[in-house]
Amino acid sequence: MVQDSRQIVIAGAGHAGGSAAAMLRQLGWQGAIVLIGEEPILPYQRPPLSKAWLKGEATAESLALRPPAFYSDAAIGLRLDTRVTCIDRPAKAVLLPNGEAVSYDYLILALGARARRLSLPGADLGGVLELRTAVDADRLKAVLRPGARLAVVGGGYIGLEAAASARALGAEVVIIERESRVLARVACPILSDFFQAFHRRQGVTIEVAAQVAALEGLDGRITGVRLGDGRVVPCDAALIGVGAVANEELARDAGLTCANGIAVDLSARTDDPAIFAIGDCTSRPLPLYGRIGRLESVPNALEQAKQAAASICGKPAPAPEVPWFWSDQYDLRLQIAGMPFDTTEIAVRGDISTGTFALFHLTADGTVQAVEAVNAAPEFMGGRRIVQRRKRLTRVQIEDVSISMHELAA
Protein backbone atom coordinates (compact mmCIF):
# COMPACT_ATOMS: atom_id res chain seq x y z
CA MET A 1 0.00 0.00 0.00
CA VAL A 2 2.77 2.44 0.88
CA GLN A 3 4.05 3.91 -2.39
CA ASP A 4 4.48 7.50 -1.34
CA SER A 5 7.64 8.27 0.62
CA ARG A 6 5.94 10.95 2.69
CA GLN A 7 4.92 10.33 6.30
CA ILE A 8 2.10 11.69 8.44
CA VAL A 9 2.56 11.60 12.18
CA ILE A 10 -0.55 11.82 14.33
CA ALA A 11 0.19 12.79 17.93
CA GLY A 12 -2.67 11.51 20.05
CA ALA A 13 -4.61 8.28 19.53
CA GLY A 14 -8.02 9.20 20.86
CA HIS A 15 -11.24 9.57 18.90
CA ALA A 16 -9.80 12.42 16.81
CA GLY A 17 -6.41 10.88 16.06
CA GLY A 18 -7.75 7.41 15.39
CA SER A 19 -10.43 8.77 13.07
CA ALA A 20 -7.96 10.99 11.20
CA ALA A 21 -5.81 7.96 10.42
CA ALA A 22 -8.83 6.09 9.03
CA MET A 23 -10.06 9.06 6.99
CA LEU A 24 -6.64 9.64 5.45
CA ARG A 25 -6.80 6.10 4.07
CA GLN A 26 -10.42 6.60 2.94
CA LEU A 27 -9.30 9.67 1.01
CA GLY A 28 -6.47 7.79 -0.62
CA TRP A 29 -3.34 8.83 1.29
CA GLN A 30 -0.63 6.45 0.06
CA GLY A 31 2.22 7.45 2.35
CA ALA A 32 3.05 6.20 5.81
CA ILE A 33 0.89 7.02 8.84
CA VAL A 34 2.25 6.79 12.36
CA LEU A 35 -0.23 7.10 15.22
CA ILE A 36 1.36 7.93 18.57
CA GLY A 37 -0.77 7.48 21.69
CA GLU A 38 -0.12 7.81 25.39
CA GLU A 39 -2.56 5.12 26.48
CA PRO A 40 -1.48 1.49 26.02
CA ILE A 41 -4.63 0.50 24.11
CA LEU A 42 -6.02 1.03 20.62
CA PRO A 43 -8.12 4.16 19.97
CA TYR A 44 -11.52 3.83 21.62
CA GLN A 45 -14.76 5.71 22.10
CA ARG A 46 -14.88 7.81 25.25
CA PRO A 47 -18.62 8.65 25.41
CA PRO A 48 -19.63 5.18 26.71
CA LEU A 49 -17.13 5.43 29.61
CA SER A 50 -19.59 7.36 31.78
CA LYS A 51 -22.55 5.27 30.65
CA ALA A 52 -22.57 1.75 29.15
CA TRP A 53 -19.01 0.98 30.29
CA LEU A 54 -19.69 1.92 33.92
CA LYS A 55 -22.86 -0.13 33.90
CA GLY A 56 -21.05 -3.16 32.46
CA GLU A 57 -23.01 -3.01 29.19
CA ALA A 58 -19.98 -2.48 26.94
CA THR A 59 -16.89 -4.57 26.24
CA ALA A 60 -13.36 -3.51 25.33
CA GLU A 61 -14.20 -4.75 21.81
CA SER A 62 -17.35 -2.65 21.52
CA LEU A 63 -15.49 0.37 22.88
CA ALA A 64 -12.69 0.13 20.29
CA LEU A 65 -12.98 2.57 17.40
CA ARG A 66 -11.83 -0.12 15.03
CA PRO A 67 -10.64 -3.73 15.46
CA PRO A 68 -6.91 -4.50 15.80
CA ALA A 69 -6.70 -5.94 12.27
CA PHE A 70 -7.76 -2.62 10.79
CA TYR A 71 -4.47 -0.95 11.70
CA SER A 72 -2.30 -3.60 10.07
CA ASP A 73 -4.61 -3.91 7.05
CA ALA A 74 -4.54 -0.13 6.55
CA ALA A 75 -0.77 0.09 7.18
CA ILE A 76 -1.19 2.46 10.10
CA GLY A 77 1.85 2.27 12.36
CA LEU A 78 0.92 2.27 16.03
CA ARG A 79 3.21 3.67 18.68
CA LEU A 80 1.18 3.23 21.85
CA ASP A 81 2.14 3.77 25.47
CA THR A 82 4.41 6.64 24.48
CA ARG A 83 4.03 10.30 23.68
CA VAL A 84 5.50 13.23 21.83
CA THR A 85 7.67 15.31 24.13
CA CYS A 86 8.73 17.98 21.66
CA ILE A 87 8.07 19.18 18.12
CA ASP A 88 11.22 20.09 16.19
CA ARG A 89 9.68 22.23 13.45
CA PRO A 90 12.89 23.07 11.56
CA ALA A 91 13.76 19.35 11.36
CA LYS A 92 10.09 18.35 10.83
CA ALA A 93 10.32 15.69 13.49
CA VAL A 94 8.72 14.86 16.81
CA LEU A 95 10.68 13.50 19.74
CA LEU A 96 9.63 10.63 21.99
CA PRO A 97 10.63 10.17 25.66
CA ASN A 98 13.34 7.66 24.68
CA GLY A 99 15.02 10.33 22.55
CA GLU A 100 13.88 8.84 19.25
CA ALA A 101 13.00 11.33 16.52
CA VAL A 102 10.09 10.50 14.20
CA SER A 103 10.10 12.63 11.09
CA TYR A 104 6.98 13.95 9.44
CA ASP A 105 5.87 15.62 6.26
CA TYR A 106 2.59 16.48 7.95
CA LEU A 107 1.93 16.43 11.66
CA ILE A 108 -1.59 16.18 13.10
CA LEU A 109 -1.91 17.15 16.74
CA ALA A 110 -4.84 15.31 18.32
CA LEU A 111 -3.75 15.86 21.90
CA GLY A 112 -7.16 16.08 23.55
CA ALA A 113 -7.92 17.72 26.83
CA ARG A 114 -7.26 16.69 30.42
CA ALA A 115 -9.51 16.86 33.44
CA ARG A 116 -9.07 20.08 35.39
CA ARG A 117 -7.69 19.28 38.83
CA LEU A 118 -8.70 20.90 42.08
CA SER A 119 -5.93 22.57 44.00
CA LEU A 120 -7.43 21.70 47.35
CA PRO A 121 -6.23 19.97 50.48
CA GLY A 122 -6.75 16.23 50.02
CA ALA A 123 -6.89 16.30 46.20
CA ASP A 124 -4.30 13.51 46.06
CA LEU A 125 -6.12 11.11 48.41
CA GLY A 126 -7.00 7.63 47.20
CA GLY A 127 -10.56 7.49 45.90
CA VAL A 128 -10.39 10.99 44.39
CA LEU A 129 -11.18 10.18 40.78
CA GLU A 130 -11.53 11.80 37.38
CA LEU A 131 -13.11 10.44 34.21
CA ARG A 132 -11.29 10.87 30.91
CA THR A 133 -9.79 7.46 30.12
CA ALA A 134 -10.71 3.79 30.27
CA VAL A 135 -8.37 3.42 33.28
CA ASP A 136 -10.23 6.25 35.04
CA ALA A 137 -13.53 4.57 34.24
CA ASP A 138 -12.35 1.23 35.63
CA ARG A 139 -11.30 2.91 38.88
CA LEU A 140 -14.74 4.49 39.18
CA LYS A 141 -16.50 1.26 38.27
CA ALA A 142 -14.61 -0.57 41.00
CA VAL A 143 -16.14 1.64 43.71
CA LEU A 144 -19.72 1.74 42.36
CA ARG A 145 -21.38 -1.00 44.39
CA PRO A 146 -24.88 -0.99 45.87
CA GLY A 147 -24.79 1.27 48.89
CA ALA A 148 -21.42 2.83 48.04
CA ARG A 149 -21.39 6.61 48.52
CA LEU A 150 -20.15 8.69 45.59
CA ALA A 151 -19.62 12.43 45.82
CA VAL A 152 -19.57 14.12 42.43
CA VAL A 153 -17.83 17.48 42.43
CA GLY A 154 -19.14 19.44 39.45
CA GLY A 155 -22.60 19.23 37.90
CA GLY A 156 -21.55 19.10 34.24
CA TYR A 157 -22.27 16.37 31.71
CA ILE A 158 -19.61 13.99 33.02
CA GLY A 159 -20.85 14.39 36.57
CA LEU A 160 -24.52 13.97 35.68
CA GLU A 161 -23.93 10.97 33.43
CA ALA A 162 -21.76 9.29 36.05
CA ALA A 163 -24.41 10.04 38.69
CA ALA A 164 -27.09 8.39 36.56
CA SER A 165 -24.92 5.31 36.01
CA ALA A 166 -24.01 5.17 39.69
CA ARG A 167 -27.70 5.23 40.64
CA ALA A 168 -28.38 2.40 38.19
CA LEU A 169 -25.72 0.41 40.05
CA GLY A 170 -27.34 1.14 43.40
CA ALA A 171 -24.79 3.65 44.71
CA GLU A 172 -25.74 6.75 46.71
CA VAL A 173 -24.82 9.99 44.96
CA VAL A 174 -24.35 13.57 46.10
CA ILE A 175 -23.59 16.16 43.41
CA ILE A 176 -21.77 19.27 44.62
CA GLU A 177 -22.00 22.22 42.23
CA ARG A 178 -20.35 25.61 42.70
CA GLU A 179 -22.84 27.55 40.55
CA SER A 180 -26.50 28.06 41.41
CA ARG A 181 -27.56 25.27 39.01
CA VAL A 182 -26.16 22.16 37.34
CA LEU A 183 -25.03 22.42 33.69
CA ALA A 184 -24.51 26.14 34.36
CA ARG A 185 -21.82 26.58 31.71
CA VAL A 186 -23.38 24.43 29.01
CA ALA A 187 -27.18 24.66 29.12
CA CYS A 188 -29.95 27.14 29.79
CA PRO A 189 -31.66 27.48 33.20
CA ILE A 190 -34.82 25.68 32.03
CA LEU A 191 -32.79 22.63 31.09
CA SER A 192 -30.77 22.83 34.31
CA ASP A 193 -33.99 22.86 36.35
CA PHE A 194 -35.34 19.89 34.45
CA PHE A 195 -32.21 17.77 34.92
CA GLN A 196 -31.84 18.82 38.53
CA ALA A 197 -35.42 17.77 39.32
CA PHE A 198 -35.05 14.53 37.38
CA HIS A 199 -31.86 13.52 39.20
CA ARG A 200 -33.44 14.36 42.57
CA ARG A 201 -36.39 12.13 41.75
CA GLN A 202 -33.89 9.37 41.05
CA GLY A 203 -32.55 9.78 44.57
CA VAL A 204 -29.52 11.97 43.83
CA THR A 205 -28.79 14.70 46.37
CA ILE A 206 -27.74 17.94 44.69
CA GLU A 207 -26.00 20.75 46.55
CA VAL A 208 -25.88 23.90 44.43
CA ALA A 209 -24.00 27.13 45.18
CA ALA A 210 -21.72 24.92 47.24
CA GLN A 211 -17.99 25.52 47.59
CA VAL A 212 -15.63 22.64 48.23
CA ALA A 213 -13.23 23.58 51.02
CA ALA A 214 -11.29 20.32 51.28
CA LEU A 215 -11.32 16.62 50.64
CA GLU A 216 -10.99 14.79 53.92
CA GLY A 217 -9.40 11.40 54.36
CA LEU A 218 -8.17 8.72 56.68
CA ASP A 219 -5.09 6.59 56.04
CA GLY A 220 -4.67 8.13 52.60
CA ARG A 221 -8.23 7.45 51.44
CA ILE A 222 -11.04 9.93 51.00
CA THR A 223 -13.78 9.84 53.64
CA GLY A 224 -15.69 13.00 52.81
CA VAL A 225 -15.95 16.32 51.02
CA ARG A 226 -15.93 19.35 53.31
CA LEU A 227 -18.05 22.19 52.00
CA GLY A 228 -17.46 25.90 52.38
CA ASP A 229 -20.18 26.14 55.03
CA GLY A 230 -18.44 23.53 57.17
CA ARG A 231 -20.71 20.57 56.44
CA VAL A 232 -19.07 17.33 55.40
CA VAL A 233 -20.52 15.07 52.69
CA PRO A 234 -19.32 11.57 53.68
CA CYS A 235 -18.25 9.43 50.73
CA ASP A 236 -16.28 6.36 49.68
CA ALA A 237 -15.07 8.05 46.50
CA ALA A 238 -15.27 11.47 44.87
CA LEU A 239 -15.47 12.04 41.14
CA ILE A 240 -14.07 15.42 40.17
CA GLY A 241 -15.76 16.68 37.00
CA VAL A 242 -15.01 20.39 36.87
CA GLY A 243 -14.15 20.83 33.23
CA ALA A 244 -11.20 20.10 31.00
CA VAL A 245 -8.09 21.93 29.89
CA ALA A 246 -6.77 21.76 26.32
CA ASN A 247 -3.49 19.89 25.92
CA GLU A 248 -1.83 22.70 23.97
CA GLU A 249 1.58 22.88 25.65
CA LEU A 250 3.44 20.95 22.93
CA ALA A 251 2.12 23.35 20.31
CA ARG A 252 2.80 26.43 22.38
CA ASP A 253 6.36 25.29 23.12
CA ALA A 254 6.82 24.87 19.37
CA GLY A 255 5.77 28.49 18.79
CA LEU A 256 2.29 27.78 17.39
CA THR A 257 -0.49 30.22 18.28
CA CYS A 258 -2.63 29.01 21.17
CA ALA A 259 -5.47 30.68 23.05
CA ASN A 260 -7.60 28.22 25.02
CA GLY A 261 -6.63 25.64 22.42
CA ILE A 262 -4.33 25.40 19.44
CA ALA A 263 -5.48 27.96 16.88
CA VAL A 264 -6.58 26.38 13.60
CA ASP A 265 -8.47 27.39 10.46
CA LEU A 266 -11.34 25.58 8.73
CA SER A 267 -8.84 23.11 7.28
CA ALA A 268 -7.74 22.35 10.85
CA ARG A 269 -4.37 23.85 9.92
CA THR A 270 -2.26 25.66 12.51
CA ASP A 271 -0.06 28.59 11.60
CA ASP A 272 2.57 26.10 10.40
CA PRO A 273 1.31 24.76 7.04
CA ALA A 274 2.74 21.32 7.82
CA ILE A 275 0.99 21.05 11.18
CA PHE A 276 -2.72 20.42 11.75
CA ALA A 277 -4.60 20.16 15.02
CA ILE A 278 -7.97 18.49 15.64
CA GLY A 279 -10.44 17.76 18.41
CA ASP A 280 -10.65 18.93 22.01
CA CYS A 281 -7.21 20.60 21.90
CA THR A 282 -8.13 23.19 19.26
CA SER A 283 -9.53 26.68 19.15
CA ARG A 284 -11.42 26.71 15.87
CA PRO A 285 -13.61 28.89 13.69
CA LEU A 286 -17.35 28.44 14.16
CA PRO A 287 -18.42 29.69 10.72
CA LEU A 288 -22.13 29.55 11.49
CA TYR A 289 -21.61 32.07 14.27
CA GLY A 290 -18.66 34.13 13.04
CA ARG A 291 -16.71 33.24 16.16
CA ILE A 292 -13.82 31.22 17.46
CA GLY A 293 -14.37 28.53 20.05
CA ARG A 294 -13.13 25.31 21.59
CA LEU A 295 -15.53 22.37 21.39
CA GLU A 296 -15.23 19.19 23.41
CA SER A 297 -17.26 16.64 21.50
CA VAL A 298 -16.96 13.59 19.30
CA PRO A 299 -18.72 15.25 16.32
CA ASN A 300 -16.20 18.09 16.50
CA ALA A 301 -13.29 15.65 16.59
CA LEU A 302 -14.65 13.84 13.55
CA GLU A 303 -15.40 17.04 11.63
CA GLN A 304 -11.89 18.35 12.14
CA ALA A 305 -10.36 14.95 11.35
CA LYS A 306 -12.21 15.16 8.03
CA GLN A 307 -11.05 18.74 7.44
CA ALA A 308 -7.40 17.84 8.05
CA ALA A 309 -7.54 14.66 5.96
CA ALA A 310 -9.25 16.45 3.07
CA SER A 311 -6.72 19.26 3.11
CA ILE A 312 -3.71 16.92 3.23
CA CYS A 313 -5.13 14.72 0.44
CA GLY A 314 -6.00 17.71 -1.74
CA LYS A 315 -9.74 17.01 -1.61
CA PRO A 316 -12.46 19.67 -1.40
CA ALA A 317 -13.02 21.00 2.10
CA PRO A 318 -16.06 19.38 3.72
CA ALA A 319 -19.06 21.67 4.26
CA PRO A 320 -19.15 23.11 7.80
CA GLU A 321 -21.39 21.14 10.15
CA VAL A 322 -23.70 22.39 12.87
CA PRO A 323 -21.95 21.67 16.18
CA TRP A 324 -23.90 19.08 18.12
CA PHE A 325 -23.73 17.17 21.35
CA TRP A 326 -25.60 14.41 23.10
CA SER A 327 -25.91 13.09 26.62
CA ASP A 328 -27.77 10.02 27.90
CA GLN A 329 -28.91 9.95 31.53
CA TYR A 330 -31.39 7.37 32.88
CA ASP A 331 -33.94 7.05 30.06
CA LEU A 332 -33.37 10.64 28.97
CA ARG A 333 -31.62 11.48 25.74
CA LEU A 334 -30.49 15.07 25.46
CA GLN A 335 -29.44 16.19 21.98
CA ILE A 336 -28.24 19.72 21.33
CA ALA A 337 -27.79 21.27 17.89
CA GLY A 338 -25.97 24.58 17.57
CA MET A 339 -24.79 27.05 20.19
CA PRO A 340 -27.00 29.76 21.76
CA PHE A 341 -24.82 32.83 21.02
CA ASP A 342 -26.55 36.23 21.22
CA THR A 343 -29.97 34.77 21.93
CA THR A 344 -32.68 36.76 23.64
CA GLU A 345 -35.63 34.38 23.72
CA ILE A 346 -36.35 30.70 24.39
CA ALA A 347 -39.31 28.95 22.76
CA VAL A 348 -40.50 25.79 24.51
CA ARG A 349 -41.93 23.15 22.21
CA GLY A 350 -43.77 20.37 24.04
CA ASP A 351 -44.62 19.99 27.70
CA ILE A 352 -41.55 19.95 29.95
CA SER A 353 -43.40 17.95 32.61
CA THR A 354 -43.81 15.01 30.20
CA GLY A 355 -40.05 14.72 29.72
CA THR A 356 -40.37 15.14 25.95
CA PHE A 357 -39.69 18.69 24.83
CA ALA A 358 -37.27 21.00 23.05
CA LEU A 359 -35.95 24.47 23.74
CA PHE A 360 -35.29 26.72 20.75
CA HIS A 361 -32.92 29.64 21.32
CA LEU A 362 -33.70 32.69 19.20
CA THR A 363 -31.86 35.91 18.52
CA ALA A 364 -33.73 39.23 18.50
CA ASP A 365 -34.46 38.78 14.77
CA GLY A 366 -35.80 35.25 15.25
CA THR A 367 -32.77 33.33 13.96
CA VAL A 368 -32.67 29.90 15.60
CA GLN A 369 -29.13 29.55 16.97
CA ALA A 370 -29.54 26.35 18.98
CA VAL A 371 -32.03 23.64 19.90
CA GLU A 372 -31.85 21.59 23.10
CA ALA A 373 -34.05 18.50 22.71
CA VAL A 374 -34.96 16.00 25.44
CA ASN A 375 -36.34 12.70 24.15
CA ALA A 376 -37.37 14.65 21.06
CA ALA A 377 -35.52 13.32 18.02
CA PRO A 378 -37.69 15.15 15.45
CA GLU A 379 -37.04 18.48 17.18
CA PHE A 380 -33.31 17.75 17.31
CA MET A 381 -33.05 16.68 13.67
CA GLY A 382 -35.41 19.37 12.38
CA GLY A 383 -33.74 21.90 14.64
CA ARG A 384 -30.30 21.00 13.30
CA ARG A 385 -31.56 21.71 9.79
CA ILE A 386 -33.14 25.00 10.88
CA VAL A 387 -29.91 26.10 12.56
CA GLN A 388 -27.88 25.08 9.50
CA ARG A 389 -30.10 27.16 7.23
CA ARG A 390 -30.12 30.18 9.56
CA LYS A 391 -33.89 30.05 9.42
CA ARG A 392 -35.92 32.62 11.32
CA LEU A 393 -39.02 31.56 13.25
CA THR A 394 -41.23 33.14 15.87
CA ARG A 395 -41.77 31.77 19.34
CA VAL A 396 -45.47 31.35 18.53
CA GLN A 397 -44.70 29.20 15.47
CA ILE A 398 -42.28 26.98 17.36
CA GLU A 399 -44.56 26.47 20.36
CA ASP A 400 -47.55 25.54 18.19
CA VAL A 401 -47.29 21.75 18.10
CA SER A 402 -50.07 21.60 15.50
CA ILE A 403 -47.32 22.77 13.10
CA SER A 404 -45.15 19.71 12.43
CA MET A 405 -41.37 19.81 12.69
CA HIS A 406 -41.27 19.02 8.98
CA GLU A 407 -43.21 22.20 8.29
CA LEU A 408 -41.05 24.24 10.67
CA ALA A 409 -37.86 22.91 9.10
CA ALA A 410 -39.06 23.23 5.52
Binding site: Q26, Q45, F70, A74, V298, W326, P378, R384, H406
Partner: protein
Protein backbone atom coordinates in the same frame (compact mmCIF):
# COMPACT_ATOMS: atom_id res chain seq x y z
CA UNK B 1 -19.86 -15.14 8.14
CA UNK B 2 -22.61 -13.23 6.33
CA UNK B 3 -21.27 -11.18 3.46
CA UNK B 4 -22.65 -7.67 3.07
CA UNK B 5 -22.03 -5.47 0.07
CA UNK B 6 -21.74 -1.74 0.69
CA UNK B 7 -22.01 0.43 -2.41
CA UNK B 8 -20.68 3.96 -2.14
CA UNK B 9 -22.55 6.82 -3.77
CA UNK B 10 -19.91 6.85 -6.53
CA UNK B 11 -20.61 3.17 -7.25
CA UNK B 12 -17.55 1.62 -5.56
CA UNK B 13 -18.62 -1.66 -4.00
CA UNK B 14 -17.14 -3.23 -0.87
CA UNK B 15 -18.03 -6.85 -0.08
CA UNK B 16 -17.39 -7.38 3.63
CA UNK B 17 -17.83 -10.37 5.91
CA UNK B 18 -19.55 -9.09 9.03
CA UNK B 19 -19.70 -11.20 12.21
CA UNK B 20 -23.17 -12.19 13.40
CA UNK B 21 -24.42 -9.83 16.10
CA UNK B 22 -22.55 -6.77 14.85
CA UNK B 23 -24.50 -3.97 13.24
CA UNK B 24 -24.35 -3.26 9.54
CA UNK B 25 -22.84 0.12 10.54
CA UNK B 26 -20.08 -1.55 12.59
CA UNK B 27 -19.21 -3.80 9.66
CA UNK B 28 -18.56 -0.72 7.55
CA UNK B 29 -16.65 1.15 10.24
CA UNK B 30 -14.45 -1.84 11.14
CA UNK B 31 -13.42 -2.09 7.51
CA UNK B 32 -13.11 1.66 6.90
CA UNK B 33 -15.76 1.69 4.19
CA UNK B 34 -16.17 5.33 3.12
CA UNK B 35 -19.63 6.86 3.21
CA UNK B 36 -20.80 5.80 6.66
CA UNK B 37 -19.76 8.36 9.26
CA UNK B 38 -21.36 6.89 12.41
CA UNK B 39 -20.58 9.96 14.50
CA UNK B 40 -22.32 8.70 17.63
CA UNK B 41 -20.89 5.19 17.50
CA UNK B 42 -24.19 3.35 17.15
CA UNK B 43 -26.41 5.10 19.69
CA UNK B 44 -29.07 6.12 17.16
CA UNK B 45 -28.33 9.74 18.07
CA UNK B 46 -26.97 11.24 14.86
CA UNK B 47 -28.35 9.64 11.67
CA UNK B 48 -24.94 9.59 9.98
CA UNK B 49 -24.97 5.86 9.19
CA UNK B 50 -27.88 6.20 6.78
CA UNK B 51 -28.15 3.57 4.01
CA UNK B 52 -30.63 2.54 1.34
CA UNK B 53 -31.65 -1.11 1.46
CA UNK B 54 -31.50 -2.98 -1.84
CA UNK B 55 -34.99 -3.56 -3.24
CA UNK B 56 -34.60 -7.35 -3.10
CA UNK B 57 -33.87 -7.14 0.63
CA UNK B 58 -36.37 -4.56 1.77
CA UNK B 59 -39.03 -7.12 2.77
CA UNK B 60 -36.59 -9.09 4.89
CA UNK B 61 -34.86 -6.12 6.53
CA UNK B 62 -38.05 -4.15 7.03
CA UNK B 63 -38.59 -0.49 7.68
CA UNK B 64 -38.07 1.24 11.02
CA UNK B 65 -40.93 0.88 13.50
CA UNK B 66 -43.14 3.95 13.07
CA UNK B 67 -42.62 6.40 15.91
CA UNK B 68 -39.28 4.83 16.90
CA UNK B 69 -36.15 6.87 17.51
CA UNK B 70 -34.78 5.55 14.23
CA UNK B 71 -37.88 6.56 12.27
CA UNK B 72 -37.79 10.04 13.80
CA UNK B 73 -34.11 10.52 13.11
CA UNK B 74 -34.41 9.22 9.57
CA UNK B 75 -37.34 11.38 8.59
CA UNK B 76 -35.04 14.39 8.93
CA UNK B 77 -31.79 12.85 7.65
CA UNK B 78 -30.17 14.14 4.49
CA UNK B 79 -31.73 12.70 1.29
CA UNK B 80 -34.12 10.19 2.87
CA UNK B 81 -35.90 7.66 0.63
CA UNK B 82 -38.64 5.08 1.30
CA UNK B 83 -35.92 2.40 1.58
CA UNK B 84 -33.80 4.33 4.10
CA UNK B 85 -32.50 2.75 7.31
CA UNK B 86 -29.94 3.65 9.93
CA UNK B 87 -27.38 0.89 9.62
CA UNK B 88 -26.56 0.95 13.36
CA UNK B 89 -30.05 -0.43 13.97
CA UNK B 90 -29.68 -3.50 11.74
CA UNK B 91 -27.99 -6.38 13.57
CA UNK B 92 -26.46 -9.00 11.37
CA UNK B 93 -27.79 -12.56 11.42
CA UNK B 94 -27.22 -15.58 9.18
CA UNK B 95 -30.24 -14.44 7.17
CA UNK B 96 -28.35 -11.32 6.06
CA UNK B 97 -25.81 -13.15 3.91
CA UNK B 98 -25.80 -11.36 0.56
CA UNK B 99 -27.39 -8.12 1.81
CA UNK B 100 -26.72 -5.08 -0.36
CA UNK B 101 -26.88 -1.53 0.99
CA UNK B 102 -26.19 1.74 -0.82
CA UNK B 103 -24.89 4.94 0.69
CA UNK B 104 -26.50 8.34 0.21
CA UNK B 105 -24.60 11.26 -1.29
CA UNK B 106 -23.73 12.58 2.15
CA UNK B 107 -24.40 11.96 5.82
CA UNK B 108 -24.55 15.58 6.99
Amino acid sequence: MPKITYIEHNGSAHAIEVPIGKSVMQGAVDNNVPGIDADCGGECACATCHVYIDAAWLDRIGLPVPGSQEASMLSFAAVTQPDSRLSCQIHVTDAHDGLIVRMPEGQH
